[in-house]
Each structure stands twice: as structure tokens, then as C-alpha cells.
Symmetry: C2
Subunit: 352 residues, 2 copies
């Protein structure tokens, strides 16, 4: 009888889980993947805290965001590398909405013991790929066990000059509202993945774009920085919780109302088709859906040329005028059949 | 028949849970409890990110730490206010070990829907009481639902002058090792609470101190700041994972070994009695036990007077000499019966 072919030697930790490995070894594993820190990082990963030299003449901009398995994602339909990407992306989107240049991030990992170390590696690599693209240094973090879900927390710190900060509260009546990119893709992508976790139809171009947007959102880091630098905008907010929520947040903080032109709201074409074939109103669904990580920007009419200058630099990302801030405190959607109240955005918390 | 006495009117949200309330309302609820921010906070809670002016001539010191229900605590035996205290305390301890002055914190709350809003209020109040004591401003955060455990994440940022940073890696052979306070209390307190969650014997002075230390650790913020400022220390590390682990971390980062004098290690008296009555070796248990949040400090012999000057300012907190850094790379415990290897500290991750 012929001898069976020899098994290939397994990788040193093939099939290993994070529960097999000590905390110190996990930190080492991450540290080995992180590229050398820039010279303004005085102390990076591995001490009690990181030490970072602030950029000259700037303020620190600090944001924190957390992704929770079972609430924001399912591991069955978001690859580990994309989870790493997204954890950083959602934080960079907040910095972009402040007009800040991202600099450093710290990562909090709460890991189920059964998670494969290979998945942790992928997660870190996915995060670091985006970090490198935006010159963000991962300078520290914390690892602990989870008795339940995977929880990915991050705090990102950026820099902005004092008079370049884009808050939510700087909008004035008469300012025009603009939105980057197109809306609804992430909502359609998530809805599709919930129906078909295996992703059999992801090959379809429409849905592939939507799934990609849900899994790997592209934070508008450069657009936010430039809008702050050339003082094009009076206010900005990121649309992590949907356009409806973003308009409400910006208007409330600015002490104004708003009118959106329903026909002007840019909706992703693939998402529109998905919503239509599933008997969902494309506009309402796109308004309520979060996770696109586009920016909503208010800008005085007189700054249209500055806005256009930023827009010309990003030909792949349209910036579309969708409405107006108003003295009237109501939030309205202007449609062919008249005005109606703006629908609510996504509320992460309330159990529905 | 006499009418039954009228029921007292319930408080507006008596018995309410965080799942009954929207995310925006929860953020408002927290914001109302937070005292006015100092004037170097340009943008606080409620925007996409916080904006903070760095302290002139200092570096940013950034740390993040997360407490997970079922791993670091049980809600059954740590009151909500103490959870808030501890979430901040563990981060302040890391800043103290760098010689930094704490300034701001952002909070990440991952909340089970069934958590009482009253408990969330207590948690925030417990945190803010400690924040006020150490002049830390809570400037932002993030709230999301948890499908399982309560997860409390925080990032704290402090300030330190460049030449005052206390890293782990500055120790030299011949430097003396010092430890603040006494060890083992938190370990005994936790062991007691695990046996008797109802806390029937907490009235005993010994155990009350241990339980208090476990629930409400007192980070050595001022001692750390002063050790950095007067350049008494060459290196420092916080003992969140126990003295054994701390000595190992400091020695490894400094490229040296260490000898600890077993008889010199300060052990909390209440903890010692608890360990003895439970057939545990007090020294080994105290060495391995984390959660005391004391500091381990290396200092050249020639700096004894500087160390004494810091010590005199904190009469309630002894600073005890416990050993020496050595050229010999081994980590040894010197006892009456000879030298033996230093036991390992607590490893948060490995499943045991």
C-alpha cells in the first residue's frame, strides 16, 4: 500500500486562539506589525502610556468610538481585516468632521478567548494599512479578555489650528448645506449581508460597492482637513448616524432650522436599486441609514468658490448642495408634493 | 371599606433602564452632570470630537484602559459609583507612572440595555468625583449598546515636560527599587467579595480596607508627578498587574535584572491576615496580585534625598525600598532561605 503523502508542517501557531497566548505575547505580536513611529512620538507601544509631541501651534482633537460585535457588526460577515479598517475609519471620520489632521491612535481590544490569533493579525494589519495611508501612528492600547462579544475601541487624536476648527455649531441662517459622496450604500450593504451572510451575490457590481462601503468605509480625512484650512465651511458633522441625524445635530448646535431639497440628496445608485427591489423608499432609507461616514457641511453662499476649490481636488467624491439652514427652527424635507418633517436618523441605543 | 393609601408618585424615571432611553438622551444626561470645562477645553462633550489646548511646553501622555464585566468586576459586588471611580483611577495610575499631570479623559460606555439609568448616573458621578479631585475634565465619549457584558473604556491624556518623562526603560544597574503604599489589599478584597458577594463581614476593619482598595483604588497621581518633576526617579511602572509583573516590565525595558528583598516588600496588614487564614503565602500572593495601583520606582542611590523629599509630602503613603536593579539579568527574590526566581505577575489574558 502506498504511504499517504506527508502532511505539510503546520505554521507555528496554526489554529491557535488568543486564549492560548498571554497578554504580553499578544502585545508583542501587535508591536511587531506596527511600522516605526515618527520622531514626534517620544514613547510608543509598551510603556504605561504613550508620549507624543503636539504639532506646533495646534490644538489636540480627541475622539473615541467603539464597535461591538452583535450591535455594529457580525464576525460572520465582516472579515477581520475590514473590522480593523473600520475601527480606525469611524474615528478618522470624526476627526475629519472637525477639520483636523489625524496623528495618533490607541486601541482597546476586548477579545473572546476563542478568536484565532490569525484573525487578530489580520485585524491589526487592516487597521495599519489605513493608518499608513493617513499617516496615523498606533502608539498604544490595551488588551483584555471578553466573556462575550468582540469589542473594538479606539481613541484617535488629531491636530488643528485654533481658527480652523469645524464645530457643529458654526452654521448661520442662509448657509448652504452640502454633503460629500453618495448616501445609502452602507445601509444596503448591511441589509444584503444580513440576508445572505455568505455573500453569494457580492459579485454583482451594485452590491459589491455597497458591501465594500459597509465593510470598509472611506473616511473623508483630506476633504475635512482642506475644508477647515481654506475656511470654506462654517460647520460640519460626520454622517455616522445618517443624514437625518446629521442635519438635526448641526442645526440644533447652530441654533437654526434647515430645509433639505429631497430631489438633490445624492443616493448611491446600487443602493437605490436594492431599496426599490425591496419595497423601501430610497430617500427615507438613505436619510435614516448611518454608516456611510460622509460629511455634512454648512457654508455661506459667498464661500461657494472655496468649496468648489476643495471639490476639484477630489474628482471621485462629489460634493453636492442639498439644502439651506434657516431662521425658522423646523427641520423640513422639501418634495414635489410639499414640505414634510425630516425623518429621524439611526439611534444606536434605543432597543427597537 | 377604607381607601388604600395613595401610592407615592414615582420619580420621572424610577426603574428606567438605559434601553428605554435614546443615545442622545443618555449623552444629555451625562453632560448635565459634568461640571463646566476649564477654559483650555475649546470644544467639550457633544461635537464630533473634543478640542483641547495642550499645556505650554509639554508633551501629551496618552493611555487607555478598559474594565470588562465578568473579567475585571462583577456588578453584584462593585457598586456603580465605584465602577466609575475605578475606570478613571486605572487610567490615572498609568499617567502617574509616566510622571504626567492628568488633564482630560474620554469615556466609552458599552451598556447592557437592562442597566438602570440610576446606575449610569451613579457611575458617572463616581467618576466625576475622582475627576474633580485630580482636575481632570471629561471632554467626550461614546455610548453604545452591549449584547452582553458592561464594558467601560477610557482614554486619559496628561501633560509632562520632555525631560521629566518617567519611562519603564530608564533604570540602570545599581538603582534602588522603591514601592509606594502596601500590596495585596486589592487581591484580598476581591477574594473576599468572590466568597461573599453580599459583603457581610465588610464591617471588619481589616477587610473593609481591602474591599475599599479593590473597589476604589487611589491612583498615586501626585506622587508620580512629583517624582517626575524633581527627577528623583530613573524609571517607573504602575503595579496594575502585580509587583512581580512590574519588576519584570521595568527590568526588561531597562535591560537589567533585579533582586528583591523578600522581607522588605510591604504587605497590607489586613491582606496578610486574610492570606494566612486562607493558607495562602502572603508574599507570593501579594507579588502576583494586581489591582493595587501602587507605583514601582527605580532611583539612583544618590537620589535618596529627593525621594525622601517626595515621601515627606505623603505621610499617609509610605515609599519603601525593596531591592536593587542588577547587571545580572536574572529576576530574583532574596529570602532567609536563599535566592529564588521572582514569581510571575497576573496575566490578564491567558485563560486558566
Amino acid at each position: 500500500m502506498p504511504s499517504s503523502p506527508p502532511h505539510p508542517a503546520p505554521a507555528p501557531d496554526a489554529g491557535a486562539t488568543v486564549g492560548d497566548v498571554g497578554e504580553a505575547a499578544l502585545i508583542d505580536r501587535i508591536r511587531r506589525r506596527v511600522p516605526p513611529a515618527p520622531d514626534w512620538v517620544a514613547t510608543g507601544i509598551g510603556d504605561d502610556a504613550a508620549v507624543v509631541e503636539p504639532a506646533r501651534g495646534t490644538l489636540d482633537v480627541v475622539t473615541t468610538d467603539t464597535l461591538v460585535e452583535g450591535i455594529h457588526f457580525e464576525r460572520s460577515f465582516v472579515p477581520a481585516a475590514d473590522l480593523g479598517h473600520k475601527t480606525l475609519a469611524v474615528n478618522l471620520s470624526d476627526l475629519a468632521a472637525m477639520g483636523a489632521t489625524p496623528r495618533v491612535a490607541v486601541l482597546s481590544l476586548v477579545l473572546p478567548a476563542g478568536m484565532a490569533t490569525a484573525d487578530l493579525d489580520s485585524l491589526v494589519d487592516g487597521m495599519l494599512a489605513l493608518a499608513t495611508r493617513h499617516r496615523v501612528a498606533l502608539v498604544g492600547g490595551n488588551i483584555t479578555r471578553s466573556p462575550g462579544p468582540l469589542v473594538l475601541g479606539m481613541t484617535a487624536i488629531g491636530a488643528v489650528r485654533r481658527r480652523r476648527v469645524l464645530t457643529r455649531g458654526g452654521g448661520r441662517p442662509g448657509d448652504e448645506l452640502w454633503v460629500t459622496g453618495a448616501l445609502g450604500a452602507a445601509t444596503a450593504g448591511l441589509a444584503y449581508l444580513r440576508q445572505e451572510p455568505a455573500g453569494s451575490a457580492v459579485g454583482q457590481a451594485d452590491l459589491a460597492g455597497c458591501v465594500e462601503r459597509y465593510r470598509r468605509p472611506d473616511p473623508r480625512v483630506r476633504i475635512g482637513m482642506l475644508l477647515g484650512r481654506n475656511r470654506a465651511a462654517s460647520a460640519a458633522v460626520d454622517l455616522s448616524d445618517g443624514l437625518g441625524d446629521g442635519v438635526r445635530q448641526l442645526a440644533q448646535a447652530s441654533g437654526v432650522g434647515a430645509v433639505l431639497d429631497a430631489s438633490a440628496v445624492p443616493i448611491d445608485e446600487g443602493a437605490r436599486r436594492w431599496f426599490q427591489t425591496h419595497d423601501l423608499d430610497p430617500l427615507d432609507t438613505a436619510l435614516a441609514g448611518g454608516d456611510d461616514y460622509e460629511l455634512l457641511v454648512a457654508a455661506p453662499r459667498t464661500h461657494r468658490r472655496r468649496l468648489a476649490a476643495v471639490s476639484r481636488l477630489f474628482r471621485g467624491v462629489p460634493i453636492t448642495r442639498i439644502g439651506l439652514l434657516t431662521k425658522d427652527p423646523r427641520l423640513l424635507l422639501r418634495t414635489d408634493s410639499g414640505d414634510r418633517p425630516l425623518p429621524e436618523g439611526y439611534e444606536h441605543f434605543t432597543v427597537r
